[in-house]
């Protein structure tokens, strides 16, 4: 068991990191910490992919000159470029999602002055109750 963990230490680290990230994303009440949790989770997946894509002794998938004007084209010399491509795409996605989440957080903070999603809900219900009370009073005045 421990041997397997040591053999796959990158993957083990990725699993632990993604667990930490997921827990933060779900359980933190502070929105900024939630977004940081999201980023930890995404980064863990990139670590996993990068570790899987790395093969010892092979070069990055860019053609190497063979010294006599040609190129070394044997596929056994290079690593698979797809995992790196997946990581790049994933980074683009997570950057845009993070930006959007931060923009929404900013909007919430401007309205309620809090980063805590529960406090915002509490303030919203209070405001609604006050509004309803005002409307009821106005109705009663009209009726009388």
């Amino acid at each position: 068991m421990l041997e397997k963990l040591l053999l796959n230490h990158y993957e083990a680290a990725a699993v632990i990191l993604s667990g930490i990230g997921l827990t933060n994303l779900l359980l933190q009440r502070n929105l900024i910490k939630k977004i940081i949790g999201l980023n930890i989770m995404d980064t863990a997946v990139y670590l996993f992919l990068a570790a899987k894509g790395y093969v010892e002794g092979r070069a990055a998938p860019i053609l190497i000159e063979n010294g006599s004007g040609g190129w070394l084209t044997s596929s056994a010399l290079y690593v698979n470029p797809v995992p790196a491509g997946l990581v790049l795409t994933g980074i683009v996605v997570s950057v845009s999602v993070t930006a959007f989440a931060l923009a929404l957080t900013l909007k919430l903070y401007e309205s309620y002055g809090t980063l805590n999603i529960d406090e915002a809900l509490l303030k919203m219900t209070e405001e609604q109750e006050q509004l309803e009370a005002v409307i009821e009073e106005a109705d009663e005045e009209v009726l009388s």
Partner: protein
């Protein structure tokens, strides 16, 4: 062999919507031209999808084809795949999207500031593009990328309506969606690691090898569980549906209609493709994921309706009813037979036509009651906006499964499909209970709107429904009756589509 024009339609549909999304910000900002452009683009894609469906089902044609993207052949390159099921789903998605936009044309103008309507159109175009891409793609990582585009666009069309309430609902929706797409991404990476492929058919071959040699069974089960859980969160399967009523209940009517009718369905169809095309029904059964999905579907059918019963706000009630309807679809998927999946696909189509109609009707009625959304405030509104009233009544009948309405067709096919399985008693009991529960909250709503109220007309100063609203509602009603009365050819077509999925 299919003709060249039809062959290019899957790619062209996605491309047209993407181009429309890019062009929209260049149009005049405070006019309604951007909305018209979106509507025309979606209508064009609907026509193209209809032609693709015709070309695919024309006698003597091969029923499905793969479209390579770029110049790399199958195991390496990216692919789209189109068959009758994909064509019919993209047709329904486009029609429902178009009707949701046209039906709520005036309420969109009230809810969204003129400067932001253009952004709304960009988001709607992106959302349509991502739905089409999810429908057609044959590559799991492309599916992930479009799931994320879908997430951003869907959360943004909630937040586009002014107000702190929508920002909060959108954030809650976004957090849950991100948990879902995070799980999907982890699962796709695990699957890629196990199989070495991203194209669905190649993955299927590799998974069959793994299963027959009994190797890597635990990682395979974990990745299937993660991908199903992630997509279930995004498609609001019951225990994960807490975000839905907020997001669908507070946003503008057009957004509610689109989110409830279409966005959930894109993710459900992705689950169906993963079950049917990537893993195969036998492997799903061996890993017991069908039982898990079936039980969750049963619970969702009952609990969605129970929550809907407790709502006083009409839009939140309809939103919770969506949770129950998603349960029906998962029940069909959980039966794990071709008939079950075909019935689930029929219910996807039925719900994509009925739920936007209900939201459009509810929007029209609450508009007639002076923008009040409480159920009691809608008393007598049927007589102010008859078209909206008719829409609500037809939608309610459909949800209860009255014969002749769309919901009856899909409930009947779900019932018939469940007879082939060993869990028929559970399925029938849940279908019956859920139908009664649906009636328990839809019938009172219908009674309320039809009750004469002595000073109703005095308070109701709302403008009369526009011609566009009446027209959209008419098409919705026609679709509803068409699906209810002539579902057999459609079901046959879907079954053919599922067979070549």
């Amino acid at each position: 062999m299919i003709n060249m024009f039809a062959y290019n339609i899957p790619f062209a549909s996605i491309f047209i919507m993407m181009v429309a999304a890019i062009v929209t910000p260049l149009l005049p900002k405070r006019s309604r031209i951007p909305e018209k452009l979106s509507c025309y683009a979606i209508a064009l894609v609907a026509v193209l999808s209809a032609y693709l469906l015709y070309a695919l089902t024309y006698p003597g044609q091969s029923l499905s084809f793969n479209f390579p993207m770029g110049h790399f052949p199958a195991p390496w390159g990216n692919e789209l795949r189109a068959g009758p099921l994909e064509a019919v789903l993209s047709l329904v998605f486009c029609v429902a999207m178009l009707l949701s936009l046209t039906g709520n044309f005036s309420s969109t103008a009230e809810d969204i500031a003129p400067g932001r309507r253009q952004i709304f159109c960009v988001l709607v175009n992106l959302l349509t593009a991502s739905l089409l891409a999810l429908t057609y793609t044959n590559d799991l990582f492309t599916a992930y990328v479009f799931i994320e585009i879908n997430t951003i666009a869907a959360c943004a069309i909630v937040a586009v309506k002014e107000g702190a309430e929508t920002a909060r609902a959108a954030l809650r929706y976004l957090v849950m969606s991100l948990v879902g797409s995070g799980l999907v991404m982890i699962a796709i990476c695990l699957l890629y690691d196990l199989t070495g492929h991203l194209l669905m058919q190649n993955m299927h071959g590799a998974i069959l090898v793994l299963v027959t040699t009994k190797s890597y069974m635990i990682p395979l089960t974990v990745s299937l569980a993660l991908i199903t859980a992630g997509l279930a969160i995004k498609s609001a399967l019951y225990p994960f549906a807490s975000w839905l009523p907020d997001a669908h209940g507070t946003s503008t009517n057009a957004s509610s209609a689109i989110l409830s009718g279409l966005v959930l369905k894109g993710h459900i169809f992705t689950i169906i493709k993963i079950f049917y095309r990537v893993f195969g029904l036998d492997v799903i059964h061996m890993l017991r994921m069908d039982t898990a999905i079936f039980i969750l579907g049963l619970v969702a059918m009952i609990m969605g309706s129970v929550h809907a019963l407790r709502q006083n706000n009409v839009k939140r009630m309809i939103a919770w009813s969506s949770v129950a309807q998603v349960g029906y679809i998962f029940l069909g998927v959980g039966l794990n037979t071709t008939a079950g999946i075909a019935a689930a696909c029929l219910h996807i189509i039925v719900h994509a036509c009925v739920k936007p109609m209900l939201f459009t009707a509810a929007g029209g009625l609450s508009n007639a009651a002076g923008h009040k959304k409480g159920l009691h405030a809608l008393m007598g509104t049927f007589y102010v906006n008859t078209w909206a009233g008719l829409g609500l009544i037809a939608g309610a009948c459909s949800m209860m499964g009255i014969p002749g309405f769309a919901g009856f067709a899909s409930k009947l096919s779900l019932t018939l499909a469940s007879f082939d399985s060993s869990v028929v008693v559970w399925a029938l009991a849940a279908l019956a209970t859920s139908s009664v529960l649906n009636a328990l909250y839809y019938v009172p709503a219908v009674i309320v709107i039809m009750t004469h109220h002595k000073d109703a007309h005095k308070n109701f100063t709302a403008p009369k429904p526009t011609k566009l609203y009446k027209f959209s509602m008419f098409i919705f009603l026609t679709l509803n009756f068409y699906l209810g009365l002539f579902c057999v050819p459609l079901l046959r077509l879907i079954t053919r589509g599922v067979n070549v999925l």
